[in-house]
Symmetry: C2
Subunit: 214 residues, 2 copies
DNA sequence: AACCTGTTGTGAAAGGTTTCACAACCAGAC
DNA sequence: GTCTGGTTGTGAAACCTTTCACAACAGGTT
C-alpha cells in the first residue's frame, strides 16, 4: 500500500514515466513478467533503483519471478494519474502551439485539448482541429469554471507572466510552460518547463567542457 | 579560474542557464552589479546556491558589492559555450520539426539550423526557411564531415533509434531528442530529452497526489 | 585610521538520493 | 519435503547536493 507520508522525488516520478513506456513496449512483445534487472538494463538504470522506486508505492513483484507486466503497467498509470483523461487548454497558437494541437501523443495519452486562446485577431475565431480559437481576453472567464485542469502556455516570454497570473487567478493548479523563462506562481501551483533553449545550452556546455560533465 | 577536475552537476548547469537569462534581463534594466541575494530572490533560489554554483568556475564577484552584471553574463556565456554559434541539423519536419525551424529563440541563441532531413517524398526537396529538405537516406553521408555539431531528432518514436544509430555512427556527440523514448547511445554522446508526455505525466501525478509532491 | 555595513567564497553540516547487500521468499526439480 | 536458483523489498552505507555560517574583504563614514 502507498506510504502516505513519504515525499516522492522528482527523479522517481520521471522514472515512473520511463517504466510506464517500457512496460507498454514489453506488453507489445508479449512479456508476462519482467525482473528489475531486465527492466533496468533496457532503460540504462540499476535494478536497485527500479525496486526502490516501485517500493515507495507498494510491493508489486513476486520474489523469484519479477513483476507482472500488465498489472504493473496499470498500477503505474494509476499512480501517475493517467488512467483517465485530463482537460487541457492551450494558450498561444504560434509555431509551437499549432504543433501541439496536431501532436498525436497528447491525445493518445489522454490529454485532451478542449480550449485554445490567442491574442491575434487573425487567429481568433479560426478552427484548429475542431476547436475554435478564443480571444485571450476571455482566458480568466473561460478557465474559472474548473472544466480545464491543465494549461499549456506557448506564448512569447514577454507576455507569459501576465497570462500565467490570470491562469493562476482562475484556480488552475498545473501549467506546462514553453516560454523560455521562469514563471512566478504560488507554491500550490505546479509548473513544468519545456525549455528548449536550456537543453541546447546543456548540449553546448557538454560539447565545450567534455571533462566537466557529470 | 576553472577547477579542472571537479565534475559539475546537471542542476548547476541548468541554473547557469537561469542565471544567464536573469543577467540579460538585469542588463536591460541597467543594473551594473547584482548580489547573490537579489539574483536568488528573482529566480526563487537561495543566495548560497548562486554563490556555490558560480564558485565552481571561478570567483567573479566583489565582496560587499556583488557581481558585475555584464561581465558575469559574458563569463557564463563562455562557460556554457554559447558565446559562439553552433551548427544544427534537424531530422523530421512533421508538426514539431516545422515549428522548430521557425522558432526564433534558436537563432537568437546562436543555434543555426543548417540541414534538414525527412523520409517523406513530398517533403524532400521542399524549402523550409531557405533550407532544402534532404532525403533521410543521406543522413550519415551528410553528417560525417563534421560541419554539424548538434542534431535535433523530431521523428516518431518507432524510427528514432534507427536514425540515432546513424547519427552516432557519423560522429555526432550531442542530440536533442523530441521522440517520447529513451535513446540508446554510447557514453560519449550526450542526449537531452524534450519529452512533453513526461512533463504532462508529472503534472498529472502532481494533481492526483497532492500530498506526495516533493 | 578605525569602524561599520554589505557581500563574497568556502569549509563543514545537513539533507537527499542512489547503491549495496542480504534476509525473505517463490517456483520448480528431485 | 528439501534443495537450488532467482528475485524482491528494504535497512544501512555511500555518495551527492544544498544549506549554513563565518572569515575575509571592499568601500564608505567619521
Amino acid at each position: 500500500m502507498a506510504r502516505s507520508l513519504r515525499r516522492i522525488s522528482e527523479s522517481t516520478i520521471h522514472r515512473l514515466s520511463i517504466y510506464y513506456r517500457a512496460l507498454n513496449q514489453l506488453e507489445r512483445e508479449n512479456y508476462e513478467t519482467i525482473s528489475s534487472k531486465e527492466l533496468a538494463k533496457r532503460e540504462k538504470l540499476t535494478p536497485a533503483q527500479v525496486r526502490k522506486d516501485l517500493s515507495f508505492f507498494g510491493s508489486f513483484g513476486t520474489r523469484g519471478l519479477g513483476y507482472p507486466v500488465g498489472e504493473l503497467r496499470n498500477k503505474i498509470a494509476e499512480i501517475l494519474g493517467i488512467n483517465r483523461t485530463w482537460n487541457v487548454a492551450l494558450v498561444g497558437v504560434g509555431n509551437i502551439g499549432s504543433a501541439l494541437v496536431s501532436y498525436k501523443e497528447f491525445q493518445k495519452q489522454g490529454f485532451k485539448i478542449k480550449k485554445i486562446f490567442d491574442n491575434d485577431q487573425r487567429k481568433i475565431g479560426s478552427n484548429h482541429k475542431g476547436i475554435v480559437v478564443s480571444d485571450i481576453k476571455k482566458l480568466f472567464e473561460e478557465l474559472k469554471d474548473g472544466e480545464i485542469e491543465i494549461v499549456v502556455v506557448a506564448v512569447p516570454a514577454t507576455v507569459a507572466q501576465i497570462i500565467v497570473d490570470d491562469i493562476v487567478r482562475a484556480g488552475i493548479k498545473a501549467i506546462l510552460n514553453f516560454a523560455p523563462m521562469n514563471l512566478k506562481v504560488p507554491d500550490d501551483v505546479e509548473v513544468r518547463n519545456e525549455n528548449m533553449a536550456m537543453e541546447l545550452e546543456y548540449l553546448s556546455f557538454s560539447l565545450s567542457n567534455d571533462s566537466l560533465r557529470p
